[in-house]
């Protein structure tokens, strides 16, 4: 019973509406294949046949040498499948990795020879679902059609239950965002705060950026913020005594962006190019926004980067924003 309760969610999680702590709403692509579709998007993986006695060795090799490196996550699939040949001998089929990680048959052969200390000849490519299924029924259906899936509950529900925000920190940032926005009350603009995560869901503020007039795309606060982060990193590298650069300081890799308004298509895609970790915005931009209103950039299959999108829905805060300035005409923020 305890287990069942967990899937319903903790007190701060509204699973049905994707709202956390009553004020942070998850924004997702309505048709995001990864969560909702009944048709599986497929990916090619290397499969092999092994003896039951080799299972442990192969499982360890996959755990130690594949899982952290293969960019295609296969954790939603069972790794081994038990089968019998005509004479009743049991053997196993195993998924090794995606064909994106090991691209040629000989690489797979070498990998198996190295770790199983014997040559495996039955190696072939199969198609399997790239993402977990959204319901138990779809999961069963795909298990039948492609390869056994492991059902661990709705993946997005699991995700929502796993996310933690430090609400004190979040509220402080939002207050600062609004105070900053108050400074520019005569023309359409936005404010961006950029945060680098430290620990306990808290972070260090890297930049507080007030945009200029949004009619000029160069003046959008997100573009200015991205520019600021890159210039600081240039300076840091220039003055750093050691040649070695911190590999995590790459573009805006995994940084958190807080924005007063839903960013325009240009700025939303700039966040994708900059590989941010997550974005939280306050006021929606129904005629121009690229996260919630159109295209769902940041949660779109096919682009090379995804990030979490959250909308701060505390009505008091949104009212304050709109009282400070509300553009009479549609605008790109």
């Amino acid at each position: 019973m305890a287990r069942k309760n967990r899937t319903i969610g903790s007190d701060h999680v509204d699973i049905e509406n994707g709202i956390l702590y009553g004020v942070i709403k998850q924004i997702r692509a309505k048709d995001s294949e990864s969560f909702r579709s009944n048709t599986a998007s497929l990916v090619n993986v290397w499969c092999c046949q092994i003896q039951p006695s080799q299972t442990q060795l192969l499982a360890a090799a996959i755990r130690d040498h594949i899982n952290s490196k293969d960019e295609v996550s296969l954790v939603h699939l069972k790794r081994f499948l038990k089968e019998e040949d005509e004479s009743g001998n049991v053997f196993l089929k195993a998924i090794i990795c995606s064909t994106e990680y090991l691209t040629t048959r000989s690489e797979v052969e070498n990998f198996l020879t190295l770790h199983l200390h014997t040559t495996i000849s039955d190696i072939y490519i199969i198609e399997v679902p790239k993402f977990p299924a959204s319901t138990k029924e779809i999961s069963d259906d795909w298990s039948e059609k492609y390869w056994p899936m492991s059902w661990k509950g709705n993946p997005n529900h699991q995700f929502l239950n796993s996310v933690n925000f430090n609400m004190k920190f979040e509220r402080e940032i939002v207050s600062q965002l609004i105070e900053e926005y108050r400074q520019s009350k005569d023309f359409p603009t936005s404010v961006t705060i950029i945060v680098k995560e430290t620990k306990n869901q808290e972070g260090e503020i890297l930049a507080v950026v007030r945009g200029g007039n949004c009619n000029n795309p160069f003046e959008h606060s997100i573009m200015k913020g991205i520019d600021f982060v890159s210039k600081s990193e240039q300076q840091r590298r220039k003055h750093s005594i050691h040649e070695t650069s911190d590999p995590s300081n790459y573009l805006c890799h995994n940084l958190w962006f807080y924005v007063s308004h839903e960013p325009c298509v240009m700025c939303s895609m700039a966040l994708v190019h900059s590989r941010i970790g997550r974005v939280t915005f306050l006021e929606s931009s129904p005629s121009s926004g690229g996260l919630e209103s159109y295209y769902q950039l940041g949660d779109r299959d096919g682009l090379n980067w995804k990030f979490q999108i959250w909308k701060w829905i505390d009505e008091n805060d949104i009212n304050v924003i709109n009282k400070i300035y509300k553009s009479p005409t549609p605008i790109n923020y």
Partner: protein
């Protein structure tokens, strides 16, 4: 007959700027901005994401920023952009917000294209700004080949560099030639005579319909030396460098197919110049 020679000449200049960007380890995507009235090149741009550590510093931004630094009051509807690769979703929105007059591009951008390939940011009617005209397919194979010369290298600035396995770019085929245009839009720019290319998707646009061409005949050293900002920012150009550039590309035959019999070279990152096959 619709003679597109000048469009090809303009694109050849953009391609060469892209090549100069490749020489400083940038993705070889580049553009020029031309003033429609004076027909002069008023700015150039090239990808600058690696040097700047800023993933938004695409060619389109660099070219426009240069103009902005001069004057904040520019009428972009009189400006035409020749860019080697279809603008990405970000740049498509940027250009639309500026009110750009027209965009001519080389090859499609299969992963991020915002002018019809992934999204149609240039013309989707629900967005606020006025749509703009966008035409692809001028010197398409050359734009692709230039990119391939970049992608065979390893991206050393990425957090975990991927080891590139497929370096055999001489024998790679080109994807189908898709234009993201309606038949009317195609005829309006390319003319009836080229309709077969829209339909069969296997041939290339040429400056003169059904007549062979090569980049070598489109631009000269003198043309390039006259391009503003080019030598100042990306270094001097000489005949040897220009010939190395020409040697990267296949020519196009009279029947609009690619001449795969030509021996091309590929760019060698380590030596910073070309190696024979």
């Amino acid at each position: 007959m619709m003679d597109l020679t000048t469009s090809f000449e303009d694109m050849a200049i953009s391609l060469f700027i892209g090549y100069k960007a490749l020489l400083i380890s940038e993705t070889p995507v580049a553009c020029i901005l031309k003033d429609k009235k004076s027909n002069k090149i008023i700015s150039i741009g090239y990808n600058y994401t690696n040097s700047s550590l800023n993933g938004t510093q695409h060619a389109e931004f660099i070219a426009v920023k240069r103009l902005y630094e001069h004057s904040k009051d520019i009428d972009f509807s009189n400006i035409i952009m020749y860019v080697t690769v279809e603008p990405c979703i970000m740049c498509a929105s940027f250009l639309r917000q500026l009110g750009i007059g027209e965009v001519i591009y080389g090859c499609s951008n299969d992963r991020f294209g915002g002018n019809g390939t992934v999204l149609s940011v240039h013309k989707d009617t629900f967005l606020v700004d006025k749509p703009y005209k966008s035409i692809g397919g001028i010197a398409r194979t050359e734009a692709i080949q230039l990119l391939r010369n970049f992608y065979i290298q390893e991206n050393e600035s990425a957090p975990v560099p991927k080891i590139k396995k497929n370096k055999d770019i001489e024998n790679k085929l080109y994807p189908p030639n898709l234009f993201n245009l309606t038949k009317e839009e195609f005829v309006d720019f390319y003319g009836e005579q080229r309709l077969d290319i829209l339909e069969n998707k296997e041939q290339e646009i040429t400056p003169i319909p059904h007549k062979a061409y090569r980049l070598k005949d489109l631009i000269s050293l003198k043309n390039l030396q006259e391009v503003p900002f080019l030598e100042d920012e990306l270094g001097l150009i000489d005949e040897e460098q220009l010939n190395e550039f020409y040697d990267l590309f296949y020519d196009i035959n009279d029947d609009s197919t690619i001449d795969f019999t030509k021996a091309i070279r590929k760019f060698n990152n380590k030596k910073r110049h070309l190696t024979p096959e």
